[in-house]
């Protein structure tokens, strides 16, 4: 009466290197947090991250004191770095949710070794993204006006505005990402609680694990909850960047008012997000010796996702070009011509190089399975996606309908300080995460060990 299940992942290259047991998987991942000495790169990285965070706080402090005029935004370009970076960061977050939710539903078991830090990446990227719209308000201390709360002015948010939709989309996304991440962590926190030798660590991990004891009934409800969360997060991740694209496409500005925006934004988000996952994963597996868990097969798969979404993004660019001609609208036509040859021509052609040309190298398996070359491509795509958002925001606004209201946008040092600062803040948060929490889901890795398959014998 034995019903042998097919051995997971054994049809092709195994997901984790052979020879691992429940104990070895547990110990190798938990020792990074519990017993290994803090590596030097961590200290250096954290110092850099913390310093840049200080730089960001300085720039924000100046902004609060002097007002939005310290930024490069002006009339007509009212949306500068704030919105560019907001869209860039939020897009990066999407890969984490895709890996943790959509690939779970599709039973892509290779996601197991990368989902935890991809989710952490999502969380920290959304945290950076969330800063920008608030800073951009002009009077950030009134940010709570965006929420529907009973107030003495008897006012409500404008429900027909995509900016209000955005508030709900982003706050829901941040909350659900946090829940998903934390729920995934609970059993691993229990593992750390049971492994920790120091009293303080035992108490802190113990409180965070909430008394998890691995009961069969608990696991059953846990898995149901996790699966339902994945099912809920899947449409959510698509909706979030769709709503972000509505911020643009609901407006009538040439280059924005287009129906290609939602799918093109979602694909771009996943594209840029996978680039960021690779940017993080490749050094991480090297430094912490996690090549057994994050194998070349993982890198190969992620590179393929990047290539596929990159091609969708390329299709988006093509349709934008086609529609600007096919619409017969002189403003649309001029907008596109201006992107190619106007004052921001350099951004456009760099974008083509970074986002369209560079990822074509991923057609070759040697590029996909060579960590260094893949890392370089991922960095280029990260830059490319940032340039794309710059192009969309700035070139559409700086020359719209009336030549008398044309202008130029040049970011100031405060813009740059805030942007570089959020990069540092992200780095600092991420390093804290890998220092204090298991960066790979331990309990899910146990399910990939060959002995995990239950063969019932009579």
């Amino acid at each position: 009466m034995s019903t042998p299940k097919p051995k997971r992942g054994s049809e092709r290259v195994p997901i984790i290197e052979p020879g691992h047991t429940f104990a070895s998987v547990t110990d190798q991942i938990s020792k990074i947090v519990l017993t290994r000495r803090t590596p030097r790169f961590w200290t250096v990285g954290f110092l850099i991250g913390a310093s840049l965070t200080m730089l960001m706080l300085w720039a924000i402090g100046v902004l609060f004191l002097k007002g939005i005029g310290v930024w490069g935004v002006n009339v007509p370009v009212g949306w500068g770095f704030a919105i560019i970076n907001f869209v860039w960061w939020i897009g990066i977050g999407h890969a984490g949710t895709l890996i943790s939710a959509i690939l779970l539903l599709l039973r892509q078991e290779w996601r197991t070794s990368i989902n935890r830090f991809a989710e952490a990446m999502t969380l920290f990227a959304v945290a950076q993204a969330g800063l920008y719209p608030v800073l951009h308000l002009g009077r950030p201390w009134l940010a709570y006006w965006l929420l529907p709360y009973p107030n003495t002015m008897a006012l409500w948010p404008q429900w027909r505005s995509p900016l209000v939709w955005d508030v709900f989309a982003i706050s829901t996304y941040a909350t659900v990402s946090l829940l998903f991440w934390y729920v995934g962590l609970i059993p691993d926190l229990a593992t750390l609680r049971d492994r920790a030798r120091r009293k303080g660590a035992q108490i802190i991990y113990g409180m965070l694990a909430m008394g998890w004891r691995g009961s069969a009934m608990h696991w059953h409800r846990y898995e149901t909850a996790y699966l339902l969360l994945a099912g809920i997060a899947t449409p959510l991740v698509v909706s979030v960047h769709t709503v972000v694209s509505f911020d643009f496409s609901i407006g009538i500005i040439p280059g924005w008012h287009s129906t290609i925006f939602p799918p093109y934004f979602v694909a771009g988000a996943i594209y840029g997000g996978f680039a960021m996952v690779l940017t993080i994963a490749i050094p991480l597996r090297k430094v912490y010796g996690l090549e057994d868990f994050v194998t070349l097969r993982h890198l190969d798969n992620m590179a393929k996702v990047m290539l596929a979404t990159g091609l969708i993004v390329g299709y988006g660019y093509m349709i934008e070009a086609f529609m600007s001609w096919y619409s017969g609208n002189p403003y649309e036509k001029y907008m596109f011509w201006n992107r190619l040859t106007g004052p921001y021509w350099f951004i456009f052609w760099s974008l083509m190089l970074c986002n369209i040309l560079a990822p074509q190298t991923l057609w070759w398996k040697t590029v996909r399975t060579n960590p260094l070359s893949l890392w370089i491509v991922a960095i280029i795509v990260n830059i490319g996606m940032w340039l794309e958002r710059f192009l969309i925001v700035v070139t559409s606004l700086h020359r719209d309908f009336l030549p008398s209201s044309w202008g130029m946008y040049v970011p100031t040092k405060y813009d740059w300080a805030t942007y570089v600062g959020t990069l540092g803040f992200f780095l600092a948060l991420f390093l804290l995460f890998i220092r204090f929490l298991p960066m790979i889901s331990i309990f899910e890795m146990r399910t990939l060990v060959p002995e995990a398959d239950v063969r019932r014998e009579p």
Partner: protein, 182 residues
């Protein structure tokens, strides 16, 4: 063994197994033998255990559905109330209850409420956070979060008799059988 148990109330007897197969078989046997108040403790979810132990399916999906419906209704009613009753304002001649513009917020709140229902519901049904549980008194129980598999028959099971149950657990191929104090 039995003298100690008289001094401190007993929570149950716990048997340790080295691999999931043994545990699933043991859980099935214990159920066949008539034991009901028992639970297994494993380092990762094992689907076969739920059936072997005869645990009921969880009601969690229903809770999540309710959460989603409440979120959806809240969002739609709030927007409808705001735009038609409490603060009606004519924007470009659009109808006041312009429901297509209400969809994004409605969708987001549906997702938010159902996700909160899923997590809080799971924790509530599991009785977490739980600061104290007797099972942690079991020796070697820390390995339940590493590489060992445990089956615990609780003292409140009507069939539970210290000697008999202990012998029964040993016949199931358990490496160690030990008492768990309340």
């Amino acid at each position: 063994m039995s003298e100690r148990a008289e001094r401190v109330p007993l929570y149950g007897l716990i048997a340790e197994f080295e691999n999931p197969n043994e545990l699933v078989v043991a859980a099935g046997r214990a159920r066949e033998a008539g034991y009901r108040k028992m639970d297994a403790y494993t380092p990762y979810p094992i689907h076969e255990l739920t059936d072997a132990l005869g645990h009921p399916r969880t009601k969690l999906p229903l809770i999540v559905l309710c959460g989603g419906i409440i979120g959806c209704a809240t969002a739609l009613l709030m927007q409808w109330f705001a735009t038609t009753v409490h603060y009606p304002i004519n924007v470009g001649g659009r109808p006041l209850a312009s429901w297509p513009s209400f969809i994004p917020v409605t969708f987001e709140l549906t997702v938010l409420f159902s996700a909160l229902a899923a997590v809080l519901g799971m924790l509530a049904l599991n009785g977490l956070p739980m600061p104290y549980h007797p099972i942690f008194n079991a020796p070697r129980f820390a390995l339940a979060s590493r590489d060992r598999f445990f089956l615990c028959i609780e003292a409140k099971d009507p069939l539970f008799e210290l000697e008999k149950t202990s012998r029964f657990l040993s016949t199931l191929g358990a490496r160690v059988v030990s008492e768990v104090e309340e």
